[in-house]
Amino acid sequence: MTRPGSAQFGRTDLPEKQRIALKKAIRWELFTIVYTSITITVVAFVVGGSQAMRTAWIEDMLSLLPQLAFLTAVIFVRRRPSVKHPYGLHRAMAVGHLVAGIALLAVGLNLAVEAATGLIAAEHPTIGTVQLFGQTIWLGWLMIAVMVIVVVGPVFIYGPAKAKLAPVLHNKLLYADADMAKADWQTNAASIVGVLGIGLGIWWLDGAAALFISIGIVWDGVRNTKGAVIDLMDQRARSYDDKKPHPLAGAITGYLRSLPWVVDAGVRLRDEGQVFHVEAFVVPRRAKVRTEALSAASEGITRLDWKVQDVVVVPVEELPSEADRALGG
């Protein structure tokens, strides 16, 4: 598992389970891009005069960003650490996450303003008819049909699939992507409400639906930007859904304390993307510590989990106050 030499430099190969999950994730991302491209093309034919439809359409385009960010980042995170990039390029994932978050935020705000000004100016959305197989039908019915059909992909097919892979890979970008896909039905439902509103002569329902959808985009932007920035600022490593501190901190300090020559231990864990960078502090029983013991301790940590392969064990007289002693875990 570990390369000869030491466990001090992170690795970029993955264990079997994660390798398969990553392969699947890449395939799902490619599938999503194809599916979404088809959706965008189909919706383009029916987008018409509805602001809600237009907003949902632009959201579809934006939803390509996380996939593109993920696929780009995957190329980089595979690269081995070097003198130039001593931690490897794992942060590419967080950078992609940040870019996607900012884009969602900016475009979402723009769409929200557009919807609000349309409502204030009392713009009545105009939707006429289309000729389909010699029949003249109201375009609104087609819009509703399309929005019902295209929601199947994100909500029932690729959203849940990616949500299953994200925890295996400890990949927050993938998790956020899956989360947004699963919430896509809200967008489609809102645009259907907007179009039906137009159909019933309640013109403002369309603008209200557009506003609802764009606020959803802004919210996604805020969440993703915040998550990415916090990770780039090296907050203490947390679980893939950011809900709790990562349990590995406890596992590592527990392991170190179980060593006979160690009195107490603490860690500084940072999330590099899919993997962690570990600085472990140990208070030894005696003043003298054998380097073999330190190497053995770092190797022991790397055996705990595939995510912790970049480990430094430092003997100290006293634990630094900011080190996580993880006594609760």
Partner: protein
């Protein structure tokens, strides 16, 4: 499909979809259709007592389907579009195509290429924004007369 079910359900409830927020189609039916005409050689001739040409003919055809009497007003594009916005007119005709910049201020029908003297242009008629029942009735009549 869901859309069809929704359509059936709404029809069963006696709701008209699409319908007009300002009730244009209801008002025009059996009443007065107020049309603005912009002079356009070959399409709208405004010399006579009432406008003549392929477009006024189409308007008269539509008026017949909803049992309306047409009253005409001749003017420049901006004057007539403003009147349309202010609710003084129900329809504006002239040499408008589907690329018209008036899309910001008026609703457009689909483009029709088979109108006489269209010369390859995809011609549209201007309607008040958001009066979708009126627009749909108009487009249905145009589909009958000059095809999609």
């Amino acid at each position: 499909m869901l859309a069809c079910l929704a359509a059936l359900w709404l029809a069963a409830c006696g709701v008209q979809v699409p319908s007009d927020p300002d009730g244009t189609l209801d008002r025009v039916s059996g009443g007065e259709l107020r049309v603005g005409a912009v002079e356009e050689p070959g399409l709208v001739e405004t010399e006579g007592p009432s406008p003549e040409g392929p477009l006024p003919e189409l308007v008269r055809g539509f008026a017949d389907t909803v049992d309306a009497r047409v009253t005409w007003r001749v003017g420049s594009e901006e004057t007539l579009v403003t009147a349309l916005e202010d609710g003084e007119l129900d329809l504006v005709i002239g040499g408008f195509t589907d690329q018209t910049p008036w899309i910001e201020r008026a609703g457009l029908t689909r483009g029709y290429r088979n109108i006489e003297h269209a010369d390859g242009r995809s011609l549209v008629l201007l309607v008040p924004m958001g009066e979708n029942a009126f627009l749909s009735a108009l487009e249905r009549s145009l589909d009958e007369e000059v095809g999609g």
